[in-house]
Amino acid sequence: MDLVAILRIAIRALTRNKMRSLLTMLGIIIGVGAVIATVGLGQGAQQQVQNQIASMGTNLIFISSGSVNKGGIHLGGGATKTLVTDDMKAILQEVPTIAEAAPGASSSAQVVSDNQNWYTHVTGTDPQYFDIRNWTFDRGGNFTEDDVQRATNVVVLGATVQQNLFGNADPIGQTVRIGTLPFQVVGVLTAKGQSGLGQDQDDGVYVPITTLQKKITGQDWLQYIVASAVSQPASYAAQGQITALLRDRHRIRPGQDDDFMVRNLADVAQLADQSSKVMTLLLASIAGVSLIVGGIGIMNIMLVSVTERTREIGIRIAIGATEGDVLRQFLSESVVLSLTGGIVGILFGVASSVTITKLLGWNILVSPAAMAAAVVFSMAVGIFFGFYPARKAAMLDPIEALRFE
């Protein structure tokens, strides 16, 4: 029997019980739709995390002053005063895999412009800082090495700060007051939005490190050093080299705890990536369960159908259908059911993805690979769950089947 004839018979048999076929398909429709939507959701989330990590800067290594144990009392991170600008210079000189490094020390202060004011973080750093973090300037530009040498009063504003102090006016060249000191605005950073944890990354101002240390805080130690490695694989080696160097410089004996922390953002990125992958897998497997339930529905209906049509099967065998013919006939019915359900399910999944994107503003990716997989998988469900009923039909004894009322 040729494929066209088989399909024609299958479609006719299915359209005979339209309501039943539709309800059976519904299981697959919901299953495939759910898989498509959740995989899309998961992949969207994964992409978002990846984008965020990319925006944090590539190959980034973060060295912060660590906790210290003083007379049995653990003091929190940042409590030590041992991390200094000379450490940064030593890292740059002695760790070959480090391309750039910049110091970081911060304070909080009231920033005032005319009649507007804003309470924000004040970070002291070097000009390289923005490059290492992959931050770009919306207006104006960076302060210079010369500004750092001479501890001049210049400031780069975060987008939130500029919005609150100046609104739509151009702040470049204007003067703002940080605490009691006047600073000239040289640049405004491009808005970066919220971080993965919901922090406003644009709420802050940046001044030369020397200016902060000498004129605002009066402290000569650093809270952190940011460094960038020449490549991502190199960043792992650099992490170890920096640890060894700083232990040596801070005269920490073997067995003693570090008074600093070295974190590699590649690790963080990998972790975040991993967790969103796990989430995708979890969502997809939950949705996959409903697909299996749909498959069981198909199997159930096919078994009913085989019983109902026992006599028909007997007739077909008597007039010359082979076991293979009967098997193919019923298998094609279940595959037509599941495949149609799969295709409708894809439409349903894409439609719900688009709806979620529009309503919640989430990022959803509907990949062609997921759709192809859904088609293949729903077909496989049809074959897998249709096989047992079809085999049952093929194995019927024609004499018994013809007698069946």
Binding site: M1, D2, A5, R16, R311, E312, G314, I315, R316, I317, A318, I319, G320, A321, T322, E323, G324, D325, P398, I399, L402
Partner: protein, 264 residues
């Protein structure tokens, strides 16, 4: 093409005596296991049917005639003994080969018609050709041809529910003939029909037989068996009588004497 009603009556059909018997059954036994008890349905049956014969098999229920018929139809295999169909020992063949034999060499007509409901007369008749791997034009042509032969050329698109019992049985006969079988096997073909319609069906059988088709018919009605050329009587799983029919009535003649019944 002439319908069978118009086919010339031939008193002496040509029977090629040298030819291989269409059916040769040798010492066939059949056992069934029904729960604890073992049923011995056929107890050593020998039968030869030559090409062009018209055999009626009679017997009460439980005589083994249905079992024998299922075996002739290759739906069942003998427990022991041999069944040669046109010289081939079909008791040795596998299921796939048997399906092919049922499809090409045998035509079935059942008591309950066994047509597929919600499938037109034409499609019902076309069904065996689907399994014979014929191309589409040939399938349609053959199906229309045999439907015309049984006098239903005008009702191709009717569903079984729109046809009378006699018409349904004629569709079933057309279906049995569509692959041009060597034998027509009919299991109580008139069991569900009134007497006039029964005679009409027998008229078709006689006409087909006159054209050379071998027919084996199972019936428990002596009136119906009379239309055959030979009557074989089964009892307790054995053949008790095997006699030619003398003074065989012609169904076509008999129809003239019966009062007409409105069928449609």
């Amino acid at each position: 093409m002439a319908t069978l009603a118009q086919v010339e009556f031939n008193e002496n059909p040509v029977v090629m005596t040298q030819a291989v018997p269409v059916i040769a059954v040798e010492d066939v036994h059949k056992f069934y296991q029904l729960g604890e008890t073992k049923v011995h349905a056929l107890r050593g049956v020998d039968l030869k049917v030559e090409p062009g014969e018209f055999v009626a098999i009679m017997g009460s229920s439980g005589s083994g005639k249905s079992t024998f018929m299922n075996m002739l139809g290759c739906l069942d295999k003998p427990s022991s003994g041999h069944y040669f169909l046109e010289g081939t020992d079909v008791s040795q063949l596998d299921k796939k080969a048997l399906a092919a034999i049922r499809n090409r060499k045998l035509g079935f007509v059942f008591q309950g018609f066994n047509l597929l409901s919600r499938t037109t007369a034409l499609e019902n008749v076309e069904l065996p050709t689907l399994y014979a791997k014929m191309d589409k034009e040939q399938r349609l042509e053959r199906a229309k041809e045999v439907l015309k032969l049984v006098g239903l050329g005008e009702r191709l698109d009717h569903f079984p529910s729109q046809l009378s019992g006699g018409q349904q049985q004629r569709v079933a006969i057309a279906r049995a003939l569509v692959n041009r079988p060597s034998i027509l096997l009919a299991d109580e073909p008139t069991g569900n029909l009134d007497s006039r319609t029964s005679v009409e069906i027998m008229q078709i059988f006689q006409a087909l037989n006159d054209q050379g088709l071998t027919i084996v018919l199972v019936t428990h009605e002596p009136d119906v068996a009379q239309f055959a050329r030979r009557i074989v009587v089964f009892r307790d799983g054995k053949i008790r009588h095997d006699d030619p029919v003398r003074n065989r009535p012609r169904a076509a003649d008999m129809l003239k004497s019966l009062p007409p019944i409105d069928e449609d």
